[in-house]
């Protein structure tokens, strides 16, 4: 019984400390997914969360400005103005009518401030087999997603 107790304690310590680390990592990196329509009815603390929003890049809406790129995402009949402020060049697949996934936080003026952008040309490719999901998409910085 004593042996079992030793094993139990050893295993318990390992699992508990890993669970603790997992909880910290979760808190640091959790990102909420919202549709454009959902985003517009969010209130209070929910607006301060880090989130991902997907949609289609509205044709002609991409404006490259100093230090940021503005564009509009369309989805479910609603549209969302986005400002990309990341330092990396936008992916090659980021063009009019591309499907895009932006990650960041909503600003108080109704714009969405994106730090990362993933984009995929409309249904041109399948995902890469067994490889990396980014094979189907290109993103500004997969390392920090």
């Amino acid at each position: 019984m004593q042996k079992r107790a030793k094993f139990g304690i050893g295993i318990g310590i390992i699992v508990a400390s890993l669970a603790c680390l997992a909880w910290m990592g979760y808190g640091e990196s959790k990102t909420y997914y919202h549709t454009i329509a959902e985003l517009q009815v969010l209130q209070g603390d929910a607006l301060k969360q880090r989130m991902r929003v997907g949609g289609t890049v509205a044709p002609g809406s991409i404006h490259r400005l100093s230090g940021r790129v503005d564009f509009v995402l369309d989805g479910e009949g609603k549209s969302l103005p986005v400002s990309y402020i990341g330092s990396d060049p936008l992916p090659d697949t980021f063009i009019d009518k591309a499907q895009a996934l932006v990650e960041g936080r909503p600003a108080t003026d109704g714009r969405f401030v994106a730090e990362h952008v993933q984009a995929k040309c409309a249904s041109k490719y399948e995902a890469a087999p067994g490889g990396n999901a980014t094979a189907a998409t290109s993103s500004t910085q997969p390392s920090s997603r």
């Binding site: 042996k3 390992i14 997992a22 990592g25 990396d88 490889g131 990396n132 189907a136």
Partner: protein, 686 residues
């Protein structure tokens, strides 16, 4: 040829159905002719899948753009090399490729064991046919690669009947690794079907445990070897092609490939507990079941995009089929286990916390916990949506926080485990085996600290790497010394002889050594640096000891693409070192761009230069340069891992075992095969 291919697939489905249903009857009736005919149906299924796959290859090589799949994934200018890769670049083709690779395994098993293990093989045949039927259902009815172009498809894009040229292959896939990475990874995924089939069959047939473990050992190692190579090739591809300076981003698809590797690794270790001590039988069976389930889950995650496709990206129609299949496997496994659980009773109990058994137990526990962490992190969006109706994802910080300590714990066990004795280890033996390696490891850590290495995890990792490498080298040295004292051969020759006498054990050590190299490389990531700069002709970017001078831009027209190249001169300490040519490639067939990173790699670090695009304001080229220490060690370690696995697959030199223990000194210079083994080598340790 497309009709031929789809007919072959249909016939394969019929044969597999016969192998399954006939096989069940054969098990019940034990009729020898029925057993034989179902086995032959299994072999025929494989042959027909081979034919279907070759006909798809033929369609690609003959530029037959009347087939939707070919038109969607190839074009005339695509080189033959990449036409091979085009076969598995899309959903339909890669599912057929799954069937194809599985068929190679099934075919080998059915042929190799046709006159052996009579009680077990009919069960194995039934399980294998069941798995094949699932994939043939997808190949035939859900995602056929032979659909003609012009048949109205669901997405409405295929209204053209004749096409002069195809859409071309995704530029990201036009890279040499993409030709070898998916076959490796898929060979890993499919390969785990064999141990699964044997485990389930043994459970159903109540076949002796050590026999099925013995039968599947090689198959598991082959699958594991492919899986390891596949994961590393994928990482190298991501590193060289995606241009973000890293090789692992905890992407759902990457994680999917890691999961079966984790449980497969646990299984490779815990089988030794069953072989030596008759313990962990239930655990082993469930590890194999889980590994196979994770292979299917991995294929599902890769193919269906259930995690990465969140809201924005279209989901595939194969998802429900995979979920159904996963549930079906789980029910069959649970049923088989519940019915025959008494057959899995353990023969021994753990004796001591400091023993080989407990190190295996902890190794398994940690691998399992890491697997659970990766599964939960990967599927977090799916689970969180079920539970809270909010879709939440977790990113690299979550995985790194959990997986780095886990990796270090595993590394520690890699050094400690193999040297602990079965049963109980004395304090004296602990001191003898670990005293020096630990002391030198700590000394190395101290030196690194003085040299400025301050990252906690990296420092621990380096200390452990030195410690583990020394324990492994000491094992080789001790064994080789004994052989040398008897035969007079050189130390290197003796070490070779030692390895050949017990390939499994020493091959395993070589694999461990490879893992040490990989960990050294991974620890290097703590010191990555990067600089991004808008460059004019003649301007300089400084990173670490290097100066990058932009000398010019040019355009290079190739058959399938046009490349915009930056001509970058690298200068170190005022002396010109080399030229680098980072590229951006434009593929006219699909109007897509691709990046070709320029990497100057050395054992110390990689200088990784990306032509990141043009600045939106000035239209000047932007260079993103990274200095990534020790990355090369990862790829080198990967090669050692594969080499070690191959060594472990070799048969032992058996003559030695016969002669073992005979006290007879061989004359100097005699052939190593004639040498007698020292008693120390006679112990059956793995």
């Amino acid at each position: 040829m497309d009709v031929f291919g789809s007919f072959a697939l249909l016939l394969a489905f019929v044969c597999a159905a016969y192998a399954l249903v006939g096989g069940i009857f054969a098990i019940r009736t034990r009729h020898p002719l029925l057993i034989k005919s179902t086995r032959q149906a299994g072999i025929a299924t494989c042959g027909l899948i081979f034919l279907a796959t070759f006909s798809l290859f033929y369609l690609f090589f003959s530029d037959n753009f009347s087939v939707a799949y070919v038109a969607g994934h190839s074009n005339r200018d695509l080189s033959s090399f990449y036409k091979v890769a085009a076969l598995w670049s899309g959903q339909e083709g890669s599912l057929l490729f799954w069937s194809f690779l599985l068929s190679i395994y099934v075919f080998s098993v059915l042929i190799a064991y046709r006159n052996k293990n009579g009680e077990l093989m009919p069960y194995v045949g039934v399980v294998l046919a069941g798995v094949q039927i699932f994939f043939l259902t997808l190949n035939n009815f859900i995602a056929s690669p032979f659909k003609a172009l012009g048949v109205p498809a669901a997405n409405g894009a295929m209204d053209l009947v004749t096409r002069g040229d195809g859409n071309g292959l995704n530029p990201l896939l036009q890279y040499p690794e993409m030709v070898i990475h998916p076959p490796n990874l898929y060979s890993g995924y499919t390969g785990f079907t064999i141990p699964f089939a044997f485990a389930l069959a043994a459970l159903l047939a109540r076949y002796p445990g050590e026999k099925w473990i013995h039968l599947t050992r090689k198959w598991t190692m082959i699958a594991w070897c492919f899986q390891s190579a596949g994961i590393l090739l994928g990482a190298h591809w991501a590193y060289a092609v995606l241009g973000w300076g890293g090789y692992w981003g905890w992407d759902p698809v990457e994680n999917a490939s890691l999961l079966p590797w984790l449980t497969g690794t646990a299984f490779l270790h815990s089988v030794m507990m069953q072989e030596k001590r008759g313990m962990m039988k239930v655990w082993n069976v469930w590890l194999v079941f889980c590994t196979f389930l994770l292979c299917i889950l991995g294929t599902f995650l890769t193919r269906s995009g259930v995690v990465s496709s969140v809201h924005a990206f279209a989901q595939s129609n194969i998802g429900p089929w995979f979920v159904g299949f996963l549930i079906a496997i789980m029910l069959v496994c649970l049923g088989a286990y519940w019915k025959n659980r008494d057959y899995l009773a353990s023969e021994n109990q753990l004796d001591s916390v400091v023993s080989r058994e407990s190190s295996f137990l902890f190794n398994n526990l940690i691998l399992l916990v890491s697997c659970i962490a990766v599964v939960s992190g990967t599927l977090f969006p799916v689970f969180s949506e079920w539970i809270t109706s909010n879709r939440i994802s977790v990113g690299p910080p979550f995985f790194n926080k959990v997986m780095i300590p886990i990796g270090l714990l595993l590394l520690f066990l890699t050094g400690v485990g193999p040297l602990l004795a079965w049963g109980k280890t004395s304090t004296e033996s602990l001191k003898r085996n670990f005293g020096w390696p630990l002391a030198i490891g700590l000394l190395a850590g101290g030196v690194l600290f003085v040299l400025g290495v301050r990252d906690f995890y990296a420092l621990i990792c380096f200390i452990l790497c030195v410690f583990v490498a020394l324990t492994i080298l000491m094992e080789f040295y001790r064994g080789a010394k004994v052989i040398r004292s008897r035969g007079g051969a050189s130390l290197v020759e003796s070490a070779f002889e030692l390895t050949m006498r017990n390939t499994r054990r020493y091959g395993g050590y070589i694999v461990h050594m490879g893992m040490v190299f990989i960990f050294i490389g991974l620890a290097g990531a703590a010191f990555n640096r990067d600089v991004q700069k808008e460059m004019q002709l003649g301007s300089v970017l400084q990173i670490g000891p290097y100066e990058l001078h932009l000398q010019g831009l040019d355009t290079k027209a190739e058959k399938n693409y046009t490349a915009d190249r930056l001509i970058v001169e690298v200068i170190k300490d005022g002396k010109p070192l080399m030229m680098l040519y980072p590229e951006r490639r434009n593929f006219p067939a699909n109007q897509e761009n691709g990046t070709m990173v320029a990497i100057a790699s050395s054992a110390k670090h990689d200088l990784y230069v990306v032509y990141a695009g043009q600045s939106p304001e000035s239209q000047q080229p932007v260079i993103h340069a990274y200095l990534n220490p020790l990355v090369k060690w990862i790829w080198f370690g990967g090669m050692i891992v594969v080499f070690g696995t191959l060594v472990a697959l070799l048969p032992n030199r058996r003559s030695v075992l016969v002669l073992a223990g005979v006290p007879q000194a061989a004359p100097a210079g005699s052939m190593p095969q004639t040498m007698t083994a020292a008693p120390i080598l006679k112990e059956g340790h793995d």
